[in-house]
Symmetry: C2
Subunit: 223 residues, 2 copies
DNA sequence: ACAAAAGTGTTGTATATACACCCATGA
DNA sequence: TCATGGGTGTATATACAACACTTTTGT
């Protein structure tokens, strides 16, 4: 008879990187930890996986309870299992990332234990959360280039300038207005709503919508 | 006091999609299951995570024991946790994929419980292994376009035709010889060894090597 | 001398980039 | 009438795609 070593019995958590764009800046929703370890520090929202729950359900639960949002885009990122990542013992985390239009976070934002922090300003976080954040940020940039995920950072109707801002903020550099419009309109993923923006002190912009609200990959990459 | 539901206590496995190219065909290493469930069927090699083991270590263990290879390229793919994926109960699997040059699998291949099967011919596998395989296959195709992973499917020295074959087999279509050579040589990732292939009944091909053996992402994508 | 794969350039077409002015509105 | 962002076209450079013949070796 072969003797097998014991199976691992790690605990499993789900952590979620919730991105939004506010005031032209890419931000992440962080929560202040209520308990040890790292009590009082800002960290990625997450929690233990409950019995009879899938990862996706746990991620939805985190999004609902911490950010008070439903039906937003999210996907699994990566599973982090560095044995030293949690001082409490063997805890692995299945990281996810989500994208939420800033307007939909207004309800929760009044709180002091939940804040939207510019990604570029974050220097330290508990556990391996910096690593998770970097990973999510990179995935977001890449994904922007071959999918329609931008829809999930905008209201249903938006102007081309708002759409362009999403790209500029995430890519971290400006893009040419005319070329951007030519390209994005050639992709056949957005359409005119027929409405126009009102109440601005300049020429009203036409409002567009994504033809498909829901994740889709582009036939031809944007970059 | 809040009452929290119990934490999940799933078991954790690691499954590995081991790709290789043999006779101009993309193949996967499958092992015949020795025990229930699905006893006797071909499935992706894998196993339970052991105590005090990281996912990467478990993946290396699978690669060593099932494929008898060391120091090959592999990376984590995705964590599959569909609650019905394993009839034994709550078992989640952290899937990985690995790339191995066919020559390095010669040692193990004599066995009847381990076989290299063309990806396109695989119609059914136990658990959610078909889903894992599709996911890996897609990742491989994508990765080929923005990284140097092709190195991990070839011997250290190779001809441009062999390199081209790697791309054609994975992409599933032919590419133009002159355009391919122009492009690949413009990327600055391969160099001449100075050696030539011998013993063929045609003009000897120059042998190249990858400048960097180890994973790297291209500055400029190939496609 | 024949078979088999290696090796090599040019041209047309499509795509990407750079760039500046007029327009519609609110104040 | 002024300030603000909305909206548009062209010219040039670069990248991609299509394509055929000569070379070197083994038999």
């Amino acid at each position: 008879m072969k003797v097998r070593p014991p199976k691992a019995q790690p605990e499993i958590t789900v952590d979620t990187v919730i991105f939004t764009i506010e005031e032209g800046v890419l931000k992440v929703l962080l929560v202040r930890r209520g308990g040890d370890p790292y009590k009082g520090q800002l960290a990625l929202p997450g929690g233990f996986l409950w019995a009879n729950e899938t990862m996706a359900q746990a991620a939805v639960r985190v999004l609902t309870t911490k950010a008070n949002v439903k039906d937003v885009f999210f996907e699994q990122l990566y599973t982090f299992d560095n044995p030293k990542r949690d001082t409490r013992g063997h805890v692995i985390t299945v990281a996810h990332f989500a994208l939420v239009p800033a307007q939909r976070l207004r309800s929760i934002r009044l709180d002091e234990n939940v804040s939207l922090v510019p990604v570029k300003s974050i220097k330290r976080m508990p556990f391996d959360h910096m690593e998770i954040l970097s990973y999510a940020d990179k995935r977001l940039r890449t994904k922007l280039g071959y999918s329609n995920v931008a829809y999930s950072l905008l209201p249903e109707a938006f102007t081309l300038s708002q759409l362009q801002e999403v790209y500029e903020v995430i890519l971290g550099h400006e893009v040419d207005k005319r070329n951007f419009r030519k390209k994005i309109q050639s992709l056949d993923i957005i359409e005119l709503t027929g409405q126009k923006q009102t109440g601005r002190k300049h020429r009203p912009a036409r409002l567009f919508r994504f033809k498909k609200r829901g994740y889709a990959e582009l036939e031809e990459p944007l970059f």
